[in-house]
Symmetry: C2
Subunit: 334 residues, 2 copies
Amino acid sequence: MKLSKVTLVDVANHVGVSSMTVSKVLRGRGSISEKTQKKIRDAVQELGYVPNKLAGSLSSRTSNLVGVVLPSLSDVIFGEMVSGMNSVLRPRGLTTFVGESLYDPNVEVEAISTILSLQPAAFIIYGGLERLEQSRSLLRNWGCPVIEIWDIKGQGVDCSVGPSHCEAGQKIAEHFLARGFQRPAYVGAELNKDILAGRRLSGFVEVMHGAGIEVKQVHDDALPRQAASGRELTKRLIEDAPDCDAIFYLNDAMAMGGLSWLHAQGFEVPDRIAAAGFNGTSLAQSVRTHLTTIDVDRFGVGQTASNCVLSLMDDKPVEPVITVPTNLVLGNTT
Amino acid sequence: MKLSKVTLVDVANHVGVSSMTVSKVLRGRGSISEKTQKKIRDAVQELGYVPNKLAGSLSSRTSNLVGVVLPSLSDVIFGEMVSGMNSVLRPRGLTTFVGESLYDPNVEVEAISTILSLQPAAFIIYGGLERLEQSRSLLRNWGCPVIEIWDIKGQGVDCSVGPSHCEAGQKIAEHFLARGFQRPAYVGAELNKDILAGRRLSGFVEVMHGAGIEVKQVHDDALPRQAASGRELTKRLIEDAPDCDAIFYLNDAMAMGGLSWLHAQGFEVPDRIAAAGFNGTSLAQSVRTHLTTIDVDRFGVGQTASNCVLSLMDDKPVEPVITVPTNLVLGNTT
DNA sequence: TTGAAAGCGCTAACAG
DNA sequence: CTGTTAGCGCTTTCAA
């Protein structure tokens, strides 16, 4: 697409000053007389001048772009994080540039390269993906602040912001134990893609093992992490382990899917079988069902990560790991 | 944030060729010997060179950015649209740049300006917001293809892609009538911000009036368009019009909130009172409740809009209005 | 308070 | 097959 626009010089000619004067007025630098300023602003308005930031950033070697790479915007939890980022970045004149990795490390490299070529001032990236060495080195060589979110085990980054996924799994396990459940199970999907779900599972299993209890696991990497999969996998679970009495699901969506199957089969929840999820999305609150889940402030994660960006850009130090709380939300499914 | 990087000239010097040769190899232009190509690729790898697209686009006067402005990424329907866009744009080497307007026309102007300053090749913008004249003229003067989504009444744009919101309201009204409901109501929020919800309401009311039936309306612009508001406003509605027998909600979230209140109060759904929503988000499917709603393929809207972008960039003509279907999904709430 | 010169990193257009 | 020249639109630096 060819472009052809009104430039700074056009504005300058229109007013009868040099382009430098216009540039200064528009950026609020130097001291320009009120009269000239007004003439320039009027001309900008009249000509419909829009500054060309490609040229501006190239020349000044500065940037107000913050690159962001997340798995998918179709999952609301990531959209909420971006909204959180925008809420702190925009007032400071910074803009997020979001790329989707689709949980694919190769796509992630592409997304990182694309964003880097736009010269971002900082980078916020999802941590729950096994990153390729190529991605790592791109980021490392680039040299801008890199904040990892949603995971807190990140290496080679300036700062990690997120919940302890292990702790989330532990909390559910402890809750199950306190409720007296004896035959717990785990239902998940695509664990090969999302290492954080795996960490929640580990925390869950660890606590159960500590109590001398085995965890029945059902997962199918070929299924998406959605309600329909929760339904299907719950069916498989019950066929395989009919005496199971409590299920920890990968996320809220799968839990709700599982619950709908259990209900259709006439299982009493939570008396015959209990269920818990992860994420505290609005999905967890439905008409009669209030899913027991672990809630994490996703908007807040975006805000915190962005505040780290601001600090690092000002050369202020930040905590290398910022753990945000995991909140056990008690519903009526356990 | 100051930047300082490996440039094309650095790569050229390292190999012992001119920067033009490197430029050509990297863009696959011209004919360069295999041997030189290999040396250059190796050097790029070794030095960790990342092209500077600010400089590239400035020089070539081309862009592969598609600007996108939507109300909020915290609402999954908009994230789904962006995912749809990326799915068709990325394979064609185009990248979306997303800004949030927060349903505020003034914020929208900001977002548009910010994106325009990055010289996008095309623009996709949410149509359900009363746009300021300033936004209009920015877009008009810019001259790139502008596609409006989610609304189909757009003016001054090249193409509009979305459902007929009026039809959505009509379909629910017709469905209510077919079911024999006589005292319908509408529950909404923030209608001052979202003119499309208003259009659904109009379609609904129009059909009801055609049947000689009045619609009881409850809306509060101060409340957010969420489940909790659905609960609160349903309470107000029932206090005010206890004999109401069917409610059309602004969206699925509010409908589910309303249903949870109705259930808590012991109302039989749908025998005593029915409910329908709009959007067909996963929210509509819960454990026992399957909300009657209007489903629209949001991912598909993003894809279609992006295909229009591609056509317009190739100077191919596009339909000025592309209406995507509204699908009545029958649940167990009507 | 204003402006001239130089250059950011890249590519179009042409030469060789 | 490879290189030279001349900018893209802006900002930095320094001079007036």
